[in-house]
Symmetry: C2
Subunit: 192 residues, 2 copies
């Protein structure tokens, strides 16, 4: 199998998760389009398990609420972003009440759409697992049958030169991927 880097969709190729964000506010219509894109993802039995809570810097205390849940290593850069989104997954089927095996998976696909849409509109996105999920649940009023997934920072690109050295290095370090031969197998597992 041959590696085809460079021939894929431009938005997928361009996307990455920066640490340097501009403080500039995001236009409201662009924020709504992020969710509109997410909304059209496919899902198992069309369950649409994804939910989103968002706040912009202009939302004041609501925004600070979200910032306050972040791990220190994330807060140091994410406190500058203009928009935070918490992705949330409904872990139970709305039809049967049983656990939905695809809850996280389908929420990931919805976020995938959001990433494409963001990139198309000149925005960058950095998702974080490093935040206090219990605190987020409490402060944002998330019901029990839903699970907080990722805290999502969104904004225009900032100047990496404005970052402290260690963050600059962290930002650069992330653009590696496993070779395609290690993740894709033809016919059966690992006989490429």
């Amino acid at each position: 199998m041959k590696d085809n880097t460079g021939k894929i969709n431009d938005l997928i190729k361009k996307r990455f998760s920066p640490l340097a964000f501009d403080k500039r506010a995001i236009e409201e219509y662009k924020i709504m389009r992020l969710f509109e894109a997410a909304r059209w993802a496919p899902s198992s039995r069309n369950e649409q398990p994804w939910r989103f809570i968002f706040a912009t810097r202009d939302d004041g205390p609501a925004f600070e609420n979200m910032i306050s849940t972040l791990a220190e290593g994330n807060r140091i850069w994410a406190q500058n972003v203009p928009l935070l989104i918490l992705s949330i997954a409904s872990f139970y089927s709305s039809f049967s009440g049983k656990p939905n095996y695809y809850a996280m998976h389908d929420t990931g696909m919805a976020v995938g759409n959001l990433l494409v849409q963001a990139t198309e509109m000149g925005l960058y996105v950095h998702q974080m697992g490093g935040y206090d999920k219990k605190m987020a649940r409490q402060k944002l009023g998330i019901p029990e049958q839903y699970e907080p997934v990722a805290m999502i920072a969104v904004g225009y690109r900032g100047n990496p030169d404005d970052l402290p050295d260690d963050l600059q290095k962290r930002e650069q370090a992330r653009r590696t991927r496993l070779p395609v031969e290690e993740i894709v197998f033809r016919r059966v597992w690992k006989t490429t």
Copy 2:
């Protein structure tokens, strides 16, 4: 909040999960680009938990192996597709060996990339949860620490008029989504 249907990325808008597929083979370079696109998805700690096994109709018994795992209601239409992919998730961190909360989520994001890339190349994708996961694991040799996720049918669009009436209806029935007000909340849960 206003609904913004129609202003989102064209590929996201165009994508849907058909039941009518053309039998025409997919070019090998296009197959590889699907995985290349998937590969560049983001993931928690860059774990890249996604794996894929694929077979084309030309792979003969290997392809029949995958077809044989499908639930009857899926086999009836999916047996005509030229390409089947099984998405697979590594449920444990390759760093710590601990469960990876984002395994399914990040695999979903990778598949989201695959969907965008497929649509850009004129291909359609229909994911299925309805297949025998135990049989798939056994027939495809999937190791214990990995979990089968979705059986993914890929192909060019077929003529829906060639479908039996009930499948035509099933294909049309799927294009609904919850209103944006039910899935997106500003500041806190459900106070839009």
